[in-house]
């Protein structure tokens, strides 16, 4: 996947170092082994099934706005 979409953490499994992240109605399980002190509600950048790092809500909103301004649906992209 070329584009990184910011996804919101909706559940965490600290033992397995995994999380379920969501972008709108689309949810995915990813590894959070690279990110410290993650909490539900945080935004993360995802690459090859890993959270790369946390984003502020403002950074997440700015990224999604750019994609929407390009006339694309980020939810569809995340589901791909």
């Amino acid at each position: 996947m070329c584009l990184a979409l910011p996804a919101e953490v909706v559940s965490l499994d600290a033992e397995k170092e995994t999380a379920v992240v969501a972008l709108g109605p689309v949810k995915k399980e990813i590894s959070v082994a690279l990110v410290d002190e993650l909490r539900i509600g945080d935004y993360v950048l995802v690459h090859v099934g890993f959270a790369l790092h946390k984003l502020s809500p403002e950074e997440a909103a700015r990224t999604l706005d750019l994609i929407r301004d390009a006339g694309e649906d980020p939810h569809e992209e995340f589901a791909a």
């Binding site: 070329c2 990184a4 910011p6 950048l45 750019l66």
Partner: protein
């Protein structure tokens, strides 16, 4: 269509025995139109977040193009940090590719622990190089010392030995003749050795072998004009040519003169094996290149440095970065601190041009009778498009 698009590749063996490859891209190169009117700062801060595969290269190209347009000087520690980040990302992407290709031949997905090992190594380098995440800001200022870089480079060296060389990097680097390389891949202990050995054993070393024209150094003024002026700028970004022909920009275009690559490229015609070896040679060189850059003994290794001799007009900036998959170019025009025009020219558009190196190499593969699909997948992976693709074999 998703915002990133994908490639559709169709292969056909015609009645006369010739092969044909048709490549259709749905990558939307006009996405940067949405940058117009936004503040330079907002766009530059968002670009590295928008691109996951090559975020460091995209972020570096974006910020250096903007700095040139705004007339900012960039300090040596900042340039150094950006080059180290791009090299770390190149290492990550090459290792992920090698691990995935090695697993594909065994018919299994990449082991999760291998992926985690690669991602952790990149993350440690990123934290050592750019702990405050400020290197990709316009006008960034960074300290000269990198106290955590040496252990992070040593960890990278260890992972490369695990996944690629299977022996100390120095020993591998001394294997420059075919017999020594044959003994190396015959060990079949690492993903890279298994991959190369399978290609050799199957007789696919010359798969997709064609002459290729590498993308040369291009003047900044001419390239900025080609990307920002006129009615056909998106057509150029979608199907770029230079000197009237499609060009190749890959790890091979950077490593084609190294002895280990030339050993597998008779008459400088490149097939599958020399392409795989170029990626291997490049990833193996990353730790030593990082050591040299961290010591400031390599002041600037991007072709972007050549662009200063022919800078675009005031208010415009252009930057070239050698990303994992090839040369990435960003061009920008700024008016009153806002983006007026913006263009990105990515290596996938050069390499997967309908008449480019992928199409010509795949046509050669399509003309063969056996294992066309498997060879085609390996050849596409060797060129490594930055998006997903569909392969149809008629």
């Amino acid at each position: 269509m998703g915002v990133e698009g994908r490639l559709t590749i169709g292969l056909e063996r015609r009645a006369d025995g010739s092969g044909h490859a048709r490549i259709v891209s749905s990558r939307p190169v006009g996405m940067t139109r949405s940058f117009a009117g936004k503040s330079v700062e907002d766009v530059i801060r968002t670009v590295p977040l928008l691109f996951s595969v090559c975020g460091m290269a995209q972020g570096t190209a974006a910020v250096e193009a903007a700095e040139q347009a705004l007339g900012h000087d960039v300090s040596m520690p900042v340039r150094r940090a950006r080059r180290l980040l791009v090299l770390a990302e190149t290492m990550r992407e090459h290792l992920l590719r090698i691990a995935a290709d090695g697993s594909r031949l065994l018919g299994i997905p990449t082991a999760p622990e291998t992926t985690l090992q690669i991602m952790r190594t990149f993350d440690a380098l990123r934290r050592a190089i750019n702990p405050e995440r400020r290197a990709l800001e316009v006008g960034a200022s960074l300290p000269c010392d990198l106290p955590l870089i040496d252990p992070a480079i040593e960890a990278a060296r260890s992972v490369i030995e695990d996944i690629v060389t299977g022996e100390p990097i120095e020993r591998f680097a001394a294997r420059t003749d075919p017999d020594a390389l044959s003994a190396w891949h015959g060990m079949c202990a690492t993903a890279a050795q298994q991959l190369v050995d399978r290609v050799v054993v199957c007789g696919w070393t010359g798969s997709g072998c064609v002459e290729t024209a590498f993308l040369p150094g291009v003047g900044g003024s001419a390239l900025a004009s080609r990307l920002l002026d006129g009615d056909d700028v998106e057509a150029f970004a979608r199907r770029p040519t230079w000197g009237g022909a499609p060009r190749e920009t890959t790890a091979l275009s950077r490593e084609s003169e190294t002895p280990m690559v030339r050993a597998f490229a008779p008459n400088r015609r490149h097939g599958l094996l020399s392409r795989l070896m170029a990626r291997i040679v490049e990833v193996v060189s990353v730790p030593e290149r990082m050591v040299q850059i961290a010591k400031d003994t390599v002041p600037d290794d991007f072709p972007g440095a050549d662009l200063s001799a022919s800078s675009p007009k005031p208010g415009r900036g252009i930057a070239c970065v050698e990303a994992a998959r090839g040369r990435l170019v960003h061009a920008v025009e700024v008016e009153d601190d806002r983006i007026a025009r913006y263009a990105i020219l990515a290596p996938t558009e050069w390499n997967f041009h309908p008449e480019g190196v992928a199409a010509r190499g795949l046509a050669v593969i399509a003309s063969g009778g056996d294992s066309v699909r498997e060879q085609a997948h390996l050849f596409v992976a060797a060129l490594d498009p930055c998006v997903a693709y569909d392969l149809e074999v008629a």
